[in-house]
């Protein structure tokens, strides 16, 4: 009964989405207030039905209702409750339901937090979100229904892929979807502006907080995925340039460009058409990511079990969304004329450079990801593009990006003078150079050009940002939240790039064969293998090894890497033993049983790895602070806001 309610609620939500997509939009164009005012109630009712649908599916999982095919395929009675719940979004159909729920939720949020937005604009925004909702809901109802029944119902379900039975992976998709779908809000605002023919500073002010928060979720979701891959899957790797990882990174690049471009549109009325284009591409890349993951065209660990029919549906949807928004853009571009000019030497140029570099980064990743697909489709050959391509491309692009990042905060809008900047900043550069060269010489045995480069970029940005905050002339506690947000986020970038540089250059790994009692030395740490014993868990059996790590004479930690078996029909899982630390991670994974008690093991020493994710957390905090800035909330304090705008970002 419950699955039927869920199914019916989904259908209802789709119908409401359809009405939501048409009526307010027509009302806005014909000037009918009644129709315009239906937007908010429709949006909230839509959300209510989506929630009912999702709760029904979750209930089916919790109560082990195996008459629903999706539940039977992804869950069984022996799985712990928390994983039965996260199994709801563990495979294709359920994850789409989550996507659609999140979409309705964002729309409902916009229907609540919209102070100062004229009803006509709001109606258009909510309508566009409704239309997107129709697309996803019909995709589900026609090709990927989570509520399909199975008669006779099996007594026991299959299992959730053991890889997914893990807390990190339970929250990674929801966070990422919050980001992907959040970009649809920016997209809807852009489309609404184009339809209305008006794009001004007020529009940018409405868009910015939503875009910032979507960006925060995307950043956090990507970092979570990297962290999860490290401890669960990647044999110590934290980023593989896997097509699905790239699918999340590309919208992130564009979203980062978008939040900076919005700043220019809000402050200076420039970059209008460009901002709209970025909003379109950010969301389009989210949809492209969805297509790549679910259509079966990619060879990847992330690829869902697939069906060409689904791939085709998403492809059509993607083409429809991108095609119609770009057509709208072409038609309305004359109305998006930017006022305001700026000199070559100005903050606008710095932000333009930021945008250009980020777009080029995105394009190189896009090319590397799609190249295998294109060559295969054209029958030129079956190519794959390896990580070295991406790593080679990112470094030369990152250098000018970080240089501008440090400089940009100090630059004046509209026109700045080179001499003024040099006079103010030269000593910051000297300090950064000293940090980049002296610190490694003191602490790192083998200095390396790349290390120096990475540390230089990091210290330049960190010092320049601190210099900027202090140089505002007011106590930091009296400065607007937007300034705090910018400071923390940019310092987060510096922390991440430090982690990336150091872990990439000084990462030590080795595959070894050890007998019980034997030890191996890596980077000064001694890894002593103490043998393997049998293991029993709630829904798995396996083997557990013991490895004692010492540095010199001191024992640092004991690690218990495991190999688990989750029952017939599932693959063996390797649980690594990790000793985490702020400045280094030690990592041991069991390889294979080589007989006679000896095993192959993989050991790692990873310096500063956690800084990569720490930086991402700082960036997320920065984004939240920036979105919470007063000027987005209080309309009455217009004068104070204007004053703050002059000194803040």
């Amino acid at each position: 009964m419950i699955p039927e309610i869920g199914h019916f609620a989904l259908i209802t939500a789709m119908v409401i989405s359809g009405i939501q997509g048409i009526v307010p939009l027509l009302g806005a164009s014909t000037g009918s207030n009644r129709w315009v005012n239906t937007a908010i109630p429709l949006t909230r009712t839509n959300w209510l039905f989506m929630l009912i649908s999702f709760v029904c599916l979750t209930y089916s999982f919790i109560t082990n209702d195996f008459s629903v095919i999706y539940v039977a395929s992804n869950s069984n009675t022996e799985m712990p409750l928390i994983f039965r719940i996260s199994a709801v979004w563990g495979a294709h159909e359920g994850s789409l339901l989550l996507w659609a729920l999140i979409l309705s939720s964002w729309a409902a949020a916009v229907s609540v937090f919209n102070k100062g937005i004229p009803p006509v604009v709001l109606a258009r925004v909510l309508s566009v979100m409704g239309l997107i909702g129709v697309g996803f809901m019909s995709f589900m109802l026609f090709t990927s229904n989570p509520f399909t029944r199975l008669f006779p119902a099996p007594l026991q379900g299959r299992s959730l892929n053991p890889l997914l039975q893990d807390f990190g992976l339970a929250i990674h998709p929801p966070m990422l979807y919050m980001g992907y779908v959040g970009l649809s809000v920016a997209f809807s605002f852009a489309v609404a502006a184009m339809i209305g023919g008006k794009l001004d500073a007020a529009w940018a002010r409405w868009s910015r907080p939503w875009t910032n928060i979507a960006w925060v979720f995307l950043t956090f979701g990507i970092a979570l995925g990297s962290w999860w891959a490290y401890y669960e899957l990647g044999w110590g790797g934290w980023w593989f340039w896997d097509p699905v990882e790239n699918a999340s990174l590309m919208p992130w690049f564009i979203a980062t460009a978008l939040i900076h471009s919005l700043a220019v549109t809000e402050k200076r009325g420039a970059f209008k058409a460009w901002t709209v284009l970025l909003a379109i591409f950010a969301f389009s890349l989210s949809l492209l990511g969805t297509f790549l993951v679910r259509s079966g065209v990619l060879t990847s660990v992330h690829a869902f079990a697939t069906d060409p029919g689904r791939g085709l549906f998403i492809l059509f949807f993607l083409v429809a969304v991108v095609g119609s928004s770009l057509t709208l853009f072409a038609w309305r571009a004359p109305k998006l004329r930017s006022s305001g000019t700026f000199a070559m030497n100005s903050r606008e140029t710095a932000l333009l450079l930021n945008n250009v570099i980020l777009v080029v980064m995105c394009t190189t990743v896009l090319l590397g990801t799609l190249f295998p697909l294109i060559t295969d489709a054209l029958n030129v050959g079956k190519y794959s593009v390896g990580p070295p391509y991406f790593n080679t491309m990112m470094v030369p692009l990152a250098i000018p990006l970080f240089f501008v990042m440090g400089l940009g905060l100090m630059m004046r809008w509209k026109r700045d003078i080179a001499i003024r900047l040099i006079k103010k900043m030269w000593w910051v550069m000297v300090l950064a150079l000293m940090a980049a060269i002296l610190l490694p010489l003191l602490w790192i045995p083998d200095f390396n050009f790349l290390t120096g480069l990475g540390l230089l970029m990091a210290s330049w940005v960190a010092l320049a940002t601190l210099f900027w905050i202090v140089g505002q002339g007011k106590s930091p506690f009296k400065q607007p939240l937007a300034n705090w947000g910018a400071m923390i986020a940019h310092i987060g970038m510096a922390v991440s790039i430090t982690g990336i540089t150091l872990v990439s250059v000084y990462n030590a790994e080795q595959d070894i064969r050890l007998e019980p009692g034997q030890a191996y030395e890596l980077s000064g740490y001694s890894f002593k293998f103490e043998g393997v014993e049998q293991l029993q868990g709630p829904n798995y059996t396996g083997q557990q090894g013991t490895v004692v790590v010492s540095f010199g004479d001191k024992v640092i930690s004991t690690m218990y890497p495991q190999k688990r078996n989750y029952g017939p029909g599932s693959m063996p899982m390797t649980e690594a033993g990790i000793d985490p630390g702020l400045f280094r991670d030690l990592f041991v994974a069991l390889g294979e049983d080589l007989g006679g008690g000896s095993w192959s093991l993989r050991v790692y020493h990873k310096p500063f790895l956690r800084w990569v994710w720490l930086g991402a957390i700082l960036m997320s905090i920065g984004g939240i602070l920036a979105a919470a800035d007063k000027r987005y909330r209080k309309l009455a304090m217009r004068d104070e806001a204007n004053l703050q705008q002059a000194v803040s970002v």
Binding site: T299, A305, G381, T392
Partner: protein
Amino acid sequence: MTPARKRRLYMILLLVGGVGIAAALIFQALQENMNLYYEPVRVVKGEAPIDHNFRMGGMVVEDSIQRDEGSLTVRFGVTDYQETVTVNYTGILPDLFREGQGIITLGRLDTEGNFIAEEVLAKHDENYMPPEVAASLEAAKAAGLETEK
């Protein structure tokens, strides 16, 4: 030329120059890092490059796994049911690596026609078969060869 036009010209030149550099870098990086896929039958025919990494995939031949004592080197055969290539790999094999399963490996040929693998990838769940391996199995089936063992 007015100052505004001059500025626009510089911007455009800068953009074109930047795009040119980016394109050159991309082509360079792609050239060195593209890995073409070859089936064992084509490798045996001599179509695969000698001095360059490439990917090869197929099924692991039953009873062909040999381990070196005291080291992590392992030798096994990879076949597409038309030809078989011997693969040498030093390191830990992935969890799902088993005889009779589909794998993809990355590496290069040595002078004796053995494949020295840098990386061995096995499929990640029972239902997944890498598209390339599936395609070559289809081709073998079409040629009337037996693909089930």
